[in-house]
């Protein structure tokens, strides 16, 4: 596992350093504009897609198949990528927190509840983004996963729109809920989605012919 993480770190710094620079830029922008959470959350989304891109590169370049000749099981490959994605997300959140706190202290308007809320959204985005992008990459490979990802996102958005258009009850329920319970529930749901995706990826990747 250590060797695989080391390989991904090296490869990401060589191949995708522009991605990393853009993500850092987003952190700086979100620290400068604390009311605008778009950059912070979108940067997190970039981090998630970066790891699935790395997995696609591993498959296209033959590294994934080469791993079959090493003492590296398919499960280990899946675990490493999920752990790497979570570590990357965590690093991004920590950097965001540092940048935001420093920016707020300079401006003299540190609002901790707002910072906490943004971080929670980022945590959820990190887990759900990783679940969708990596799950599809492992299950369907480089080409089919792009299509599968688009279809999944389209289905989720369509279902959400349908529910909201059909009835305002879900919005009223959410608005009436205790914020702590709501946040905890959403984090829990994200964890469940991530765990499901992780298991699904292990199951499908074990059976794939690389």
């Amino acid at each position: 596992m250590k060797g695989l993480i080391r390989k991904d770190l090296l490869q990401i710094s060589r191949t995708y350093y522009t991605f990393l620079l853009i993500s850092l830029l987003f952190i700086v922008l979100s620290a400068v504009q604390p009311d605008n959470t778009f950059f912070a959350v979108y940067g997190m989304f970039l981090m998630c897609t970066l790891v699935s891109t790395l997995q696609n590169l591993d498959e296209a370049g033959g590294w994934a198949a080469y791993c079959d000749t090493l003492p590296v099981s398919r499960n280990m490959q899946v675990n490493e990528k999920y752990i790497f994605a979570l570590l990357l997300s965590l690093a991004y959140i920590v950097l965001y927190l540092i940048a935001s706190v420093v920016g707020s202290l300079i401006r003299g308007n540190l609002v901790l509840p707002q910072l906490f809320a943004t971080c929670m959204v980022m945590v959820m985005m990190g887990m759900i983004g990783t679940a969708i992008s990596l799950g599809m990459s492992f299950a369907y490979g480089m080409q089919k996963s792009q299509l599968a990802r688009i279809i999944t996102i389209a289905v989720i958005v369509s279902l959400g729109m349908l529910v909201l258009n059909y009835s305002s009850v879900p919005v009223q329920i959410i608005a009436g809920m205790n914020q702590f319970v709501l946040t905890a529930g959403m984090i829990l749901a994200s964890v469940v989605i991530l765990a499901g995706s992780w298991k699904f990826a292990q199951y499908k990747y074990e059976k794939r012919d690389l």
Binding site: M1, K2, G3, L4, I5, R6, K7, L10, Q11, R14, T15, G61, G62, W63, A65, Y66, D68, T69, L70, P71, V72, S73, D209
Partner: protein, 282 residues
Amino acid sequence: MNALEMNHVTKSYGSFTLNDICLSLPQGTIMGLVGENGAGKTTCLKLLLGIITADSGALRLLDCDNPRAHREVMERIGVVMDDVKLPPTLKMNEIGGIMAGIYKQWDAEYFNRLCTQMHIPADTKFSQLSRGNRMKAGIACALSHNPELLILDEATSGLDPVARDELLDVLLEFTRDEKHSVLMSSHIVSDLEKVCDYITFLHEGKLILSEEKDVLKESYGVFHCTPAQLAELNRNDITGSRETAYGCEVIMPKDKIPAGFSSEPVDLEELFVLMVKGEKHV
């Protein structure tokens, strides 16, 4: 004890079938797997490693029937497939660092020594190495964790004659310790002839011969005759034959060669070619 065994292994892929393969590699020896393109050499190696599963039959590698499910068994094996696919943007020392994190028994000093000995450029990205150097890099990775069994698929192809010779020396050095074994497939039969103790011929998914090299060379002879003389020979005794503009070339077990014909020693490439062609023509 055998380093690997295949007993009546069969595997079908579309129109190709690897049919009823039985072979074993005694520990401390080198076996060469010879066959034309599509004969089933790579399929055999993938079956042994557990990368693909057999339709029927039994396989054992270092006393384990599913090595991929046992990390500790894979730690004892070094593999080089026909195209080495290491991370393209990384340099050799970085690749060594990655392998050190993968193999428990990684010997960084030996890896560096091998890279220097095989003249693999240290400061060049893997994708920028020549095919020969990429192959050498794969071999260095496969040897540097002190494996008991080395599996090489066309590892000498793409190497120049000097590099091939160096690799063969490395293999001979590797098997000097009688715990180490090698299974290698190659089109270059002369390379196998130099280092192998056992030779296995595969043709169109079938095992046509698996024997000790010295026994093969002692058992078979090649002789020349006319087409009329060839027609008089017992077809069942002929291992392989070839008609040329100057007459016929026939390979037979030495004890079956009729009196009056003077036989010459057979080289493995000739034996393989005539066995394959013989199977088609006789």
